[in-house]
Amino acid sequence: MPWELDETKLEALAIGAGILGTGGGGNPYYGKLHVRRLLREGRRVRIVSPDEVPDEALVVSVGGMGAPTIGIERIHRGDEPLVALRALEQHLGRPATHLVPGEIGGANALRPMAVGALAGLPVVDGDGMGRAFPELQMDTFAIYGVPATPAALADIYQNVVVFPRLRDAVTLERYARAVTVQMGGAAGFAFPAMSGRELRRVVISYTVTLAVQLGEAILAARRQHTDPIEAALDVTGGRVLFRGKIVDVERRLTAGFARGTVRLEGLAEDRGSQLLIDFQNENLIARRDGEVVAVVPDLICLVDLDTAEPVTTEVVRYGLRVAVLGIPAPAMLRTPEALAVVGPAAFGYADVNYRPLPGTYGGDRIAAHRARL
């Protein structure tokens, strides 16, 4: 059944998307304010499950790319991805019927909702990552063979760049990144386009619902003074890997990515232990006292120990008390072809094997539950 995103669900979605951003993906707050304004102006955001999308539908992924630091300063005009979408439609010669988020983690979980509200198009309950990743080729659309182009980018001036044909998503990533810098460091995008039939094959389902449920569980726990972290684990299928204080953050800039290491010292039952987390925008590998305990594509999320508020790579700093959540990756990211793109080796950790966390990703659990109904 299609459902509508109201203000309450929007609030929850922003919290859930912040956690599923695994440290990266930008802050959903600004997108939330934009969508909330659109809702208050009487526009609507309809969410449809992947099963409800007709085979012949034209589904387009929309969102923003660029630096989160730019996004909090040069706030969006708001219609950049819509302008890109219109250019892509013109190139394709037919209108889009549905939108789909490229990633459910971070700011890009909210952008398709704004475009959906502006364009009057439904948004698919699913995405291409089930979390956030730093590069375009890392979504399941690209991994499972949806051509990356044609693709369109638009800036605040409604300048549009269309890439009719590029070899693959890695090439698009390089070209689009260069154009984004010229567009002031942040741009709206529309790509890839796919049919409803293709969408069902490549999408990670029910992640919008997952993010909303995650946010709702945390908000309810805060209201009822129960443990919001436990509530988050119930929804996501994850576990607490570590509770501790951040005692060191080392950052370095390489090829446009904020890479670095966060060091935590244990609190409570983890007292006496250390946890090291390597990140490249998103958190990639967690090592407890030298032993690897969680590896990308499984989700490694830092949240505030008391409130479960997400702690992103940019605000990570000395002294914060956090819980490190380990959430099993969606099944679609655990296949050999996906691991070749989003596994540890793809991030430069040739020596680390992917040892999946036990359990089932929350979105997959929702899908299984629906299948039984």
Partner: protein, 514 residues
């Protein structure tokens, strides 16, 4: 130099006279609605204690929560205009979007987004539109608005547009009070603009209040320069404070932590400020309060300027104790402690009564609590100690024990041995640590900018940032010989291949004596 430190709290106004490191005198007086008569009361009491002519006092330093309270209570705020320069960017979120409705309704006079602002690399987003700006000035005049906030995209990096628009508005409407966002906040347009707008609402109140304080001090014969303490524990001149009242918002906890550092001689410690209703705790790092890393809300508005990282719990000297001793606070008898508590002949079992019954403090009439059940006292003590040690633990950065400095009127609650503390220190004059913290404050300069490392080395960019921060500190009144860099933060901008880095550098120095 003899300094007079004053702290205007919600309940009490404290004053201290300091000669170098020596506390010559101190006094407390109830805070008054007009602020200045409470100050006069406290200062008179201090001057009465010593043989110092008012003319010998070299500087007056004032900390106040008065402007914070005005925002929280939504009182005495001016109607303002907010001019944002950034069109066609930023249209998705208009100014004051996420403010509480009552506050927005009280202050929003005219909000607009006009062409202007810059890209991260210094290019203009749009040139300034003088026709639109003239129309905006006309509208401001029509609406009878006297206070304006101007915010431009990337103004912390490129000042040109905020400066040009401020000059233009001053030419058109010379009576206007204008707050530039770059003077207050950091990168993060919405939070910086919010801070500038809050400031604009407060400027008329701040001008009045500070003028009243000045004339009250003058009437006492005090002609020394007046400074106000800022959120980060450094000072600004009264003229500056009248233009930037938001910078005083968190000065209360900051002053008590700085005062605790001064009185204890410790630069790295945890400070507990135990009051009647709450205990505020913060961490001192190199003598300054550690800053909060999240956006900080004031009166429900997200802002991003310098604020100390303070954790508060509802436990103080006036906290009400449940009959079985397992729950203490958050309800409190507050300032009615001297009538309500058992030891003062009142009917209510408070945390103070427990401290007296257990022999932690001698206060009031101990006989009145002598017959409290032992078990109740022990259980309540255990509850107090556990909550305090959890509070200390929440602020620690490593598991190692750290010194804990205790200040404030409720400090009798704190045991001499606290789990997680290497020692518990109760410095003399702890009751007026706030006013002492104000009196010892230094001055600072800070820069926050994005630099590209394509055409310059990291070292050169850092060097330039350090030099600019020192220059700003000296301009703010620091003795050039004493200026030091106290903070350097370097954050690479993710997802961009241009090697851009955000640099934040802060310099601090002693107040110049001239």
């Amino acid at each position: 130099m003899v300094r007079l430190g004053i702290d205007v709290g919600g309940t009490n106004t404290d004053a201290v006279l300091l000669d170098g490191a020596d506390v010559l005198a101190w006094a407390k007086h109830p805070t008054t609605a007009d602020v200045s008569s409470g100050i006069v009361g406290a200062v008179r009491r201090v001057l009465d204690q010593v043989r110092i002519a008012p003319g010998e006092i070299g500087a007056v330093m004032l900390g106040t929560t008065h402007f914070t309270n005005a925002v929280v209570q939504c009182r005495n705020l001016a109607r303002i205009a907010v001019l944002r320069l950034g069109w066609p960017a930023t249209l998705s979120i208009p100014p004051l979007e996420d403010w509480p409705d009552d506050l927005r309704d009280a202050v929003a006079g005219y909000l607009t987004i006009l062409p202007g602002g810059h890209q991260f690399d210094g290019r203009e987003i749009s040139p300034l539109d003088w026709t639109a700006l003239t129309a905006a000035a006309d509208r401001i005049a029509q609406e009878g608005i006297h206070s304006v906030a101007v915010s431009a995209v990337f103004s912390p990096a490129v000042a040109a547009h905020e400066d040009a628009v401020t000059r233009f508005l001053h030419e058109q409407l010379p009576h206007l009070r204008i707050t530039r966002s770059r003077d207050i906040g950091r990168l993060g347009l919405l939070e910086r603009e919010n801070a500038a707008a809050l400031n604009a609402c407060l400027v008329p109140l701040a001008e009045e209040t500070i003028a009243a304080i000045r004339s009250a001090l003058a009437a006492l014969g005090l002609e020394a320069p007046l400074y106000l303490s800022q959120n980060d524990g450094t000072l600004m001149t009264a003229e500056f404070a009248a233009r930037y009242p938001v910078l005083t918002f968190a000065s209360g906890p900051t002053n008590s932590m700085r005062g605790a550092a001064f009185l204890s001689g410790l630069h790295d410690a945890i400070v507990l400020d135990v009051g009647g209703t709450t205990t505020d705790a913060g961490a001192l790092v190199h003598g300054f309060p550690r800053e909060a890393s999240f956006a900080v809300s004031i009166g429900g508005v997200r802002t991003n300027f310098r604020m100390p990282d303070v954790v508060s719990i509802g436990l103080g000297g006036g906290s009400i104790v449940s009959p079985d001793g397992t729950r203490i606070g958050p309800q409190s008898v507050g300032f009615r402690l001297s009538e309500e508590a058992l030891v003062f002949g009142g009917p209510t079992l408070t945390a103070t009564d427990i401290a007296v019954a257990a022999g932690r403090a001698r206060l009031g009439d101990p006989a009145r609590v002598a017959r409290l059940p032992r078990e109740l006292v022990q259980r309540a003590l255990a509850t107090i100690d556990q909550r305090l040690s959890e509070l200390v633990d929440s602020l620690k950065t490593t598991a190692a024990p750290v010194p804990v400095v205790v200040v404030g009127g409720g400090s009798i609650l704190v045991p001499d041995q606290l789990e997680g503390a290497s020692e518990v220190i109760r410095p003399p004059h702890a009751a007026v640590a706030n006013a002492i913290g104000a009196a010892i404050a230094q001055v600072s300069g800070e820069i926050d900018r994005i630099v590209s490392l394509e055409h310059q080395t990291r070292e050169r960019a850092l060097e330039a940032a350090r030099a600019d921060a020192c220059r700003l500190a000296i301009e703010a009144g620091a003795d050039p010989g004493s200026v030091q860099i106290v903070e350097v933060e370097e954050v690479p901008l993710a997802y961009l291949p241009s090697n851009a880095v955000r640099l934040r550098v802060k310099a601090v120095g002693d107040l110049r004596e001239d």
